[in-house]
């Protein structure tokens, strides 16, 4: 009974992430790939993303604060980061990346700096939300993050 309640909470949390635009359909696609052979697939991908993105964000930060800005190089880093964000369904993060790239293309340093703050913020918010989500899912037991289907 308790397990079912937790499962419902997990589903509700996920639904709210989708409704509020933190995540998009791609996240659901990832959950579809999770199965008995790969029971923690989504969490693994998300962990990989946050490890990888920490590095990319550092590179971008460095490029923004050290000397004259190399816009093509910045755009390249952000392109990678946007691609990764998109691949886990991190919708808000991806949208901020798009805005950043627009400023980058326009050579607008101030715009880049401002937007980068937003990028980091959305990234941090999502990280916290997903950590909570996976913790709850673990408590809910195996296939706690499935689409609710019995396989």
């Amino acid at each position: 009974m308790d397990r079912n309640h937790l499962k419902r909470q997990v589903d509700f949390m996920k639904r709210s992430f989708l409704d509020q635009g933190y995540l998009d359909e791609q996240f659901i696609q990832l959950e579809e790939l999770q199965d008995d052979d790969n029971p923690n697939f989504v969490e693994e991908i998300v962990t990989l993303f946050f490890n990888d993105s920490a590095r990319l964000l550092q590179n971008i930060e460095q490029a923004l604060v050290s000397g004259p800005i190399d816009f093509p190089s910045l755009d390249n880093y952000m392109h990678q980061f946007k691609g990764s964000s998109s691949s886990i369904g991190a919708k808000r993060v991806k949208n901020e990346c798009t805005r950043f790239k627009e400023y980058c293309t326009a050579g607008n340093a101030e715009g880049c700096l401002r937007t980068f703050v937003q990028v980091k913020q959305e990234h941090a918010i999502l990280k916290t939300k997903l950590e909570t989500y996976f913790q709850l899912a673990k408590q809910a037991g195996p296939s706690g993050t499935s689409g609710g289907q019995i396989r």
């Binding site: 696609q29 790939l33 693994e44 990989l48 993303f49 392109h79 990678q80 691949s87």
Partner: protein, 140 residues
């Protein structure tokens, strides 16, 4: 259109309704490689991964062949278009599918000109793979 020559069928065995086929995933992003690998493992167990165009070319040059090569466009050292041209020039007949995070419509011509059979925006999804496979099986 499964490969550009009849000889590509030597890598495919049809057992009942299950077809075995080999795929190569070429992408510099480890997250994408992991996702696409998990996705394709729903359809086949023969999956190889490399992280750029040069590794793909070297692997094929060494004699390994694949039924389908999924190749990212934007990669360091050798990108997807260059790698596709090299592979076709080497006589590789595999089905080559381009995968890109850029706007697809403006790049489709580049992909086809380079010698790719199909292209998709990343990330790939179960639906895209199903539609690709049914298209390939229809034409085979």
């Amino acid at each position: 259109m499964f490969g550009k020559g009849a000889s590509s069928s030597k890598n495919m065995e049809i057992i009942g309704s299950e077809k075995k086929f080999s795929v190569l995933i070429v992408d510099d992003d480890p997250i994408i490689r992991k996702i696409h690998s998990a996705l394709l493992s729903k359809f086949t167990k023969e999956i190889h991964e490399v992280k750029n165009g040069k590794e793909a070319v070297d692997l094929c040059r060494s004699g390994t062949s694949f039924d389908i090569i999924f190749i990212d466009k934007e990669m360091p050292i050798m990108n997807g278009l260059e790698a596709t041209k090299e592979l076709r020039a080497m006589g590789v007949y595999s089905t080559i599918v381009g995968v890109t995070s850029c706007d697809l419509s403006s790049e489709r011509n580049d992909f086809i000109a380079a010698g790719q059979n199909q292209c998709y925006e990343k990330p790939l999804t179960i639906e895209k793979i199903k539609s690709l496979l049914s298209e390939l099986n229809k034409n085979n």
